[in-house]
Symmetry: C3
Subunit: 164 residues, 3 copies
């Protein structure tokens, strides 16, 4: 019997993947007190890894990523990182209804010196959390540029959750 949040995911057409195994000598999450620290997640899904790097040439003139543009694909990749965070949180808690708050997301965008629309990319992850959890999904956040990311990923997002 799925909980409220998993019913909401199903309604949104989101199926949680098998949690992605760490690339190395660490674990995907650690609980301490009521906080759950989830390791940085890459945009790995059914189509493999979303790789790439953004530059000013990828900016949306009006700040809104055009469908199919590289900026839109990067925002979708950030949403995929968020889905992978949820898969880990589900593995950690057994039931996403036990997540009482998304506390913090940190989003790293692979980009060069000319890129300035990091928020538009990480919004892909933020907006997914809001749609899944409602009020409890409203989180604090930082979005910054990275010179490159593991495996050439275009984005990486880590998260801190409050759980029962």
């Amino acid at each position: 019997m799925a909980g409220r949040i998993e019913a909401r995911l199903a309604e949104m057409g989101i199926e949680l993947p098998e949690p992605v195994a760490p690339l190395a000598d660490y674990v995907p999450f650690v609980r301490t007190g009521n906080l759950l620290f989830v390791s940085g997640q890459l945009p790995i899904g059914g189509d493999g890894l979303a790789a790439g790097q953004l530059t000013a040439a990828d900016h949306a003139a009006d700040g809104v990523p055009a469908p199919g543009s590289k900026l839109a694909l990067a925002a979708e990749a950030a949403a995929l990182c968020a889905v992978n965070l949820l898969a880990q949180a589900k593995a950690a808690t057994g039931d996403l209804d036990r997540v009482t708050r998304v506390v913090k997301l940190t989003g790293f965008v692979s980009c060069d010196a000319t890129f300035t629309q990091h928020p538009q990319v990480i919004n892909g992850a933020s907006s997914l959390m809001g749609r899944v959890f409602g009020e409890a999904g409203r989180h604090s956040r930082a979005a910054v540029g990275s010179s490159s990311l593991p495996r050439g990923a275009i984005v990486e997002v880590e998260g801190v959750f409050e759980i029962e």
Copy 2:
């Protein structure tokens, strides 16, 4: 009636701005237990946004930013990020006297591969916290380089605070 910390800010000639609205689908702070996570703040003040990127050409030979130098302006921008963190902490707590400790600052400096004086930049934020809060302002910290930051900002600082 202002509290002790707000009196201290006034004494230092610092007026807290209206908290800067998030650029996207997230909130400026989340409280969990006694911890307050404040979103990454950009150096936005009365003069707009401090933009730019640092290189080795901006290094201070003796490690001390010369007044008016780009390095000094970047350190002032970091201090402005700290003021914006305080504006959010004030909005979160109602009274900065309820901040019992600045726990952690993470400072991201927009710079190229040749730049090495990140601490000198983020000191702008660290030193402000010390002057405002005294002992309670002594925080842990990381200072790192970013290939670029939202809106072309020269620096971004996020914070974790302990509150009553």
Copy 3:
């Protein structure tokens, strides 16, 4: 009389250095509740600072750093950051046996846009934590690229620990 973890360090031939002093206006660690936030540590040891920057030319073809390669040196530098984190945790707690869990490591790798083997570098730190603490050393993690790091360091690692 050394505790269990310090005996383990001695067995591994690791001597904790004097904790490295902060480069600036902050402190090396802050405790809040049962969490210890340790400031970002640079790879500073008996041979000075491990400086440098990684590119695709430094990749290990099979993903395993070859002994003496720049990638292997970067992983050793990450392990040195971990040792420096432990030196700070020892200063904070008086006895590393009071560390009940390594909660989170964040590893920043100085690299250009072509580098993709960040996990192999930060594994140097992760694997050391596992060897020192066993189960309690299994941590969550993020590994990302930085355009540059303080003093030209090749890697910087910060940590969150759970303590008694």
